[in-house]
C-alpha cells in the first residue's frame, strides 16, 4: 500500500477500475462497487483468493448486481441451450466473453469448490468457452448461470447459438486425411527407393513384393485421402463447371490405374510415390488455407446480440417469454443494460438508450414517453416499460435481414484467379493428352496410352493448386499481424479487385471513444469537489466521464439532488447550488448545434463554463484523401449533415457524401454502385451497416475491440490499423501478382514435364522428382515473395 493513499488513485482490487468512492473496503482491499466487493467475498469464503495472485485485477467490473436469469427456468429455452442431458447429468457450453487471463481459467475450473453439484468444467481459452457437466437435480441451469454471474463471469446467452455452430465437428476430417496420406507417402517412398537405385537380378522377387505393397499403400490414399477431389470434380461436372479439382482428380485416377497396371503386368514400377506425394501436398495446401480465428465471428447478425427471452407484463405479473413468442401489443420490461428486442413505444420510465451496437454512436440518447424506440438499443438506467409495435423480425433494424442480400450464398462473390485459369488449363491439358494419344495410336497403341496417361500425370496442376493456398495463407498471417482479420483466403483477391470504397460515418471514421473530455473552464479545487460530489450520484455516462476526468476528489455532503432526464443534475452540495447539464438547464436557452457535446456547469447560479466531448475522428483519417486518388471514396451516414463541411477535408467530391441514410438506404446505395460496374468495399461498424456490408463485394467491419462486437462481414479491422488501409490494399495487389508469377513457374514445370510425357517415355523417377521439386519451388517462392511484399509495404 502506498504511504499516502489520499493522493494516489486507488484502483479496484477486483477489476482494476478507478475507485470513485471509498465506500467499499473489505480486508484492506478497495473495491469500486458493491458488485466487485461481493465477488471478492464469495471467492474468499470459498478460499479461492489465489484468483488474485495470478494476475492483477482479473475481474470484470460489476456495476450491475441484479440477476435476470429467471427465463432460464423455462424448459423450452433450457432445451435450446444444453448440449446433453440424462437423468442426473447435464452438459452445457457457455460463451463467456470475459475469459481473458490465467486467473479466469483457474477460477472457472474450480467451480465445484463453490458448488459441489458441478462435476467438471473445462475452459477453451481461445474460444472463450466453458464446458460444464453438472448434476441438474442439485443445481438447475438458472442456478448455474447465477453462480457464474456471482463470480463475475456472466455467460453471453443469445438467440443465435454461436457455440453450437462453432463446435460442429469439421466433417471433412482433413487432419486425419493428411495423416493417412503422409503415412502412406513415407512408406511408399521407402519402398520405391530400391527400384530407383536398381535391383540386381536375384532381387527381382523383392520388386514384385514392393510393387504389391505400393498398391496396397496407395489404396487408402486414393479411397480415403483423395476422395474429396473425386466428389468435388463430379459435382462440378454436373454443374457444368470445370474447376481445378477436375484435372487433379483425373491425375490421381490415372496415376493409380497406371501404377496398378504396370505392377500387375510386371511392366514397370508405377507411380505410387508420385500419387501419395501429390495427395499429401494437396491436402497440406488445403490445411494451410484453412485459418480459423476462434476469437472472431464473421457470421453475426442481430440474433447474436439480442437476448433469448424478454420479460412481459401479463395480468400484473412479470413473466419471461422466449423472444420468438413476443407479439405486437405485449408490454415488456427492459432493465438496465438490456437490449430492446423489438420496435416499441415507451410507456413508463426514463429511457436512456445506447445505440452503439446499431449506429456506432457512443453517447446514449434519451427518449420521452410515447416515443418509438427502435430495436437494438440498450437501456442504460432504470427499468422501462414499453409496448411492442412490431414483431422482432419486422422491426426497423431487423427487417434488413429479410433482404435477399442475406439469403444468397456469400462465399466467393468474385471468381478467383484459380477458378478462372483452371477452366482453360483443363481444356488445354485434355487437348494435349488426346493429341498425344492420337499421334501415337496409329503406330504404337501401347506408346499412345503411355503418352496419354503420362501427360495427365505430369500436368496434374499440383503446383498450381498449391500456389494460391500458400500465398494466401502467408498474406493472411501478414494481415493478421497487422490486426486485420480476413474471413478466408478468397477475401485477399477480392480486396485486390476493389475500385470503390464506401465508409460509414459514426463509429467508423468517428470513433466511439469519447473518453477525451475537454475542460473549457477553470475550476478551483473546491469547485471540482462540488461538481464531483454532484456527479458521483448519477449513473449517466456523461457524469461518470466527468467524475473520471476530475479524478479522486473529496466527496462532499450532498443534501439535495435532482436528476432531470435528458437535461442534467441540480444538486445542493455543502450548501452550494450546483447545476450540471445542457444549456437549457444551466443557461436557460437551447443550444446551437456544434460538433461537441457540452455539459455546462453553474455553481450558485454563476456560469463557470462547460465540459466538452468532442467528436473524435479516427486516427489515420488522412489516408482517405490518399485513397481517393486511386479509388472512388464515398461516405454514408445515418446522421444529419452538420459535419459536412468538416468532412470535406476527406471527401473532395461533395456528392460522394450521403447523409440521413437508413440501413436499407445504405444497402440500396451499394447495390446502385454495383450496377454501375463498381467493385465496392464497404467499411462499417454497426448493425445498421450490416445490409451494406453484406451487399458489398467486400464488407469490412471496423471495431476497437475485436472481442467485442462486429456485425457479420468478410473481414474485421482493428480500429488502430485504420491508417494502414492503403498499405493493405496495395499488399493485396502484390499478393495477386505473386499468384500470377507462381502460376507461370508451375506452368514452366508442367511444360518441362510435358516434353517428356508426349513422347511416351516418362520414367517414374522423373515424375517422382518433378512433382516434389515443383511443389517445393512454389512453396518457397510464394512465402519469400509474400514476405518481401509485406516488407515493401511496411506491414511486417
Amino acid at each position: 500500500m502506498a504511504n499516502n493513499p489520499t493522493l494516489e488513485k486507488t484502483s479496484c482490487y477486483h477489476c482494476g477500475d478507478d475507485c470513485i468512492t471509498t465506500d467499499y473496503v473489505i480486508d484492506d482491499k478497495q473495491f469500486c462497487c458493491h458488485g466487485c466487493k461481493s465477488v471478492y467475498q464469495i471467492l474468499s469464503e470459498n478460499k479461492l483468493c489465489s484468483y488474485y495472485n495470478y494476475n492483477d485485477h482479473p475481474g470484470a467490473t460489476r456495476t450491475r448486481t441484479d440477476k435476470r436469469f429467471d427465463y432460464l427456468s423455462e424448459p423450452t429455452i433450457v432445451k435450446e441451450l444444453i448440449g446433453y442431458t440424462d437423468d442426473d447429468i447435464t452438459i452445457v457450453t457457455f460463451y463467456i466473453p470475459h475469459i481473458h487471463c490465467s486467473s479466469c481459467l483457474w477460477l472457472l475450473e474450480q467451480l465445484n469448490k463453490i458448488n459441489p453439484a458441478v462435476h467438471y468444467c473445462r475452459v477453451d481459452f481461445l474460444k472463450k468457452q466453458l464446458n460444464i457437466r453438472f448434476n441438474h437435480n442439485k443445481l438447475n441451469l438458472q442456478g448455474l448461470v447465477e453462480l457464474l454471474f456471482d463470480i463475475g463471469y456472466e455467460p453471453l446467452i443469445s438467440l443465435q447459438d454461436i457455440i453450437k455452430k462453432q463446435n460442429e465437428p469439421a466433417n471433412d476430417n482433413l487432419v486425419k486425411k493428411i495423416a493417412v496420406a503422409g503415412f502412406c507417402f513415407g512408406n511408399v517412398m521407402l519402398l520405391s527407393f530400391p527400384e530407383y537405385l536398381g535391383l540386381s537380378a536375384y532381387e527381382q522377387t523383392f520388386k514384385h513384393f514392393f510393387g504389391w505393397l505400393n498398391i496396397l499403400f496407395s489404396l487408402p490414399v486414393l479411397m480415403y485421402s483423395g476422395r474429396g477431389y473425386f466428389v468435388s470434380a463430379y459435382q462440378n461436372l454436373r454443374n457444368k463447371v470445370l474447376n481445378i479439382d477436375f484435372p487433379l482428380a483425373l491425375g490421381i485416377a490415372v496415376l493409380f490405374i497406371r501404377t496398378a497396371a504396370e505392377i500387375l503386368t510386371h511392366t514397370g514400377a508405377g507411380f505410387a510415390d508420385t500419387l501419395c506425394g501429390l495427395v499429401f501436398f494437396l491436402l497440406v495446401g488445403k490445411f494451410v488455407q484453412k485459418k480459423t480465428y476462434h476469437h472472431l465471428s464473421f457470421e453475426r447478425d442481430y440474433r447474436s446480440f439480442f437476448p433469448v427471452a424478454v420479460h412481459v407484463i401479463d395480468e400484473e405479473k412479470e413473466t419471461p417469454i422466449p423472444l420468438s413468442q413476443l407479439h405486437t401489443g405485449h408490454r415488456m420490461v427492459i432493465r438496465h443494460n438490456e437490449i430492446v428486442p423489438a420496435d416499441a413505444i415507451l410507456l413508463k420510465g426514463e429511457a436512456l438508450i445506447d445505440f452503439s451496437f446499431v449506429t456506432g454512436e457512443a453517447l446514449p440518447v434519451s427518449k420521452t414517453l410515447g416515443e418509438i424506440i427502435y430495436a437494438g438499443g440498450r437501456q442504460a438506467g432504470e427499468a422501462i416499460e414499453m409496448e411492442v409495435i412490431k414483431p422482432v423480425s419486422q422491426s426497423y433494424l431487423t427487417q434488413l435481414w429479410n433482404n435477399e442480400a442475406f439469403t444468397r450464398k456469400q462465399d466467393n462473390r468474385m471468381k478467383t484467379f484459380n477458378e478462372k485459369v483452371s477452366k482453360y488449363f483443363t481444356i488445354v491439358l485434355l487437348a494435349i493428352a488426346f493429341g498425344a494419344l492420337l499421334f501415337w495410336l496409329p503406330a504404337d497403341v501401347k506408346r499412345g496410352f503411355a503418352a496419354f496417361t503420362a501427360v495427365l500425370i505430369v500436368a496434374c496442376p499440383c503446383a498450381l493448386a498449391l500456389s494460391t493456398p500458400f500465398t494466401m495463407s502467408a498474406a493472411l498471417s501478414v494481415f493478421d499481424k497487422n490486426r486485420f482479420y480476413l474471413k478466408n483466403t478468397a477475401v485477399v483477391e477480392q480486396l485486390a479487385a476493389i475500385d470503390a470504397i464506401v465508409f460509414d460515418k459514426t463509429g467508423t471514421i468517428t470513433t466511439g471513444d469519447n473518453g477525451i473530455v475537454k475542460v473549457e473552464t477553470k475550476l478551483s479545487e473546491i469547485q471540482k469537489q462540488l461538481i464531483y460530489s454532484a456527479c458521483s450520484n448519477s449513473n449517466h455516462p456523461l457524469s461518470r466521464m466527468i467524475c473520471r476526468k476530475i479524478g479522486d476528489a473529496k466527496k462532499l455532503d450532498t443534501t439535495g439532488y435532482l436528476e432531470v432526464p435528458g437535461t442534467g443534475i441540480v444538486a445542493k452540495v455543502d450548501g452550494h447550488k450546483v447545476q450540471i447539464g445542457n444549456s437549457k438547464l444551466v443557461l436557460n436557452k437551447t443550444e446551437q448545434y456544434t460538433d461537441t457535446t457540452k455539459v455546462h456547469i453553474a455553481i450558485d447560479d454563476v456560469y463557470l463554463g462547460y465540459f466538452g466531448l468532442a467528436h473524435h475522428y479516427r486516427t489515420g483519417m488522412e489516408v482517405i484523401p490518399q485513397l481517393g486518388s486511386t479509388y472512388q471514396t464515398y461516405l454514408l451516414s445515418g446522421d444529419q449533415d452538420h459535419e459536412k463541411n468538416e468532412l470535406r477535408r476527406f471527401f473532395s467530391e461533395p456528392y460522394h457524401m450521403h447523409f440521413n441514410n437508413s440501413p436499407q438506404d445504405k444497402l440500396d446505395f451499394i447495390q446502385m454502385l454495383q450496377r454501375t460496374g463498381k467493385k465496392v468495399m464497404m467499411i462499417g461498424d454497426g448493425l445498421n451497416d450490416s445490409g451494406a456490408l453484406k451487399q458489398s463485394d467486400l464488407g469490412i467491419a471496423i471495431t476497437d475491440n475485436v472481442n467485442n462486437f462486429s456485425p457479420g462481414s468478410d473481414a474485421i479491422l482493428d480500429g488502430c490499423s485504420f491508417a494502414k488501409l492503403p498499405a493493405f490494399l496495395r499488399f493485396s495487389k502484390d499478393t495477386v501478382t505473386i499468384i500470377h508469377l507462381s502460376f507461370l513457374i508451375s506452368l514452366t514445370y508442367n511444360i518441362i514435364g510435358l516434353c517428356y510425357a508426349v513422347t511416351g517415355n516418362l520414367s517414374p523417377l522423373i515424375a517422382a522428382i518433378l512433382m516434389p521439386v515443383s511443389t517445393v519451388t512454389i512453396i518457397s517462392f510464394t512465402s519469400l515473395a509474400t514476405h518481401f511484399a509485406a516488407k515493401k509495404r511496411k506491414l511486417s
Binding site: 489465489s50 490465467s102 513415407g186
Partner: protein, 53 residues
Amino acid sequence: MNIIYFLIGCSVLLALIFLGAFFWAQNSGQNDDLYTPSIRILLDEETDADGEK
C-alpha cells in the same frame, strides 16, 4: 535376404500402431484445444490447507 519381408512387416506394423494412436488422439478430441493446456500447466495445484495468501 528373406529377413527383409519380416523387417518390412515389422516396420509397417509399427507405423500402423502410430497412425492408430494419432487417430485415437484426434477422435478423442485431444487436438481440439491446443492453447488452453499451455496456460493450465502454469497454474499451481491447490492443496486444501493453503487458502491464505
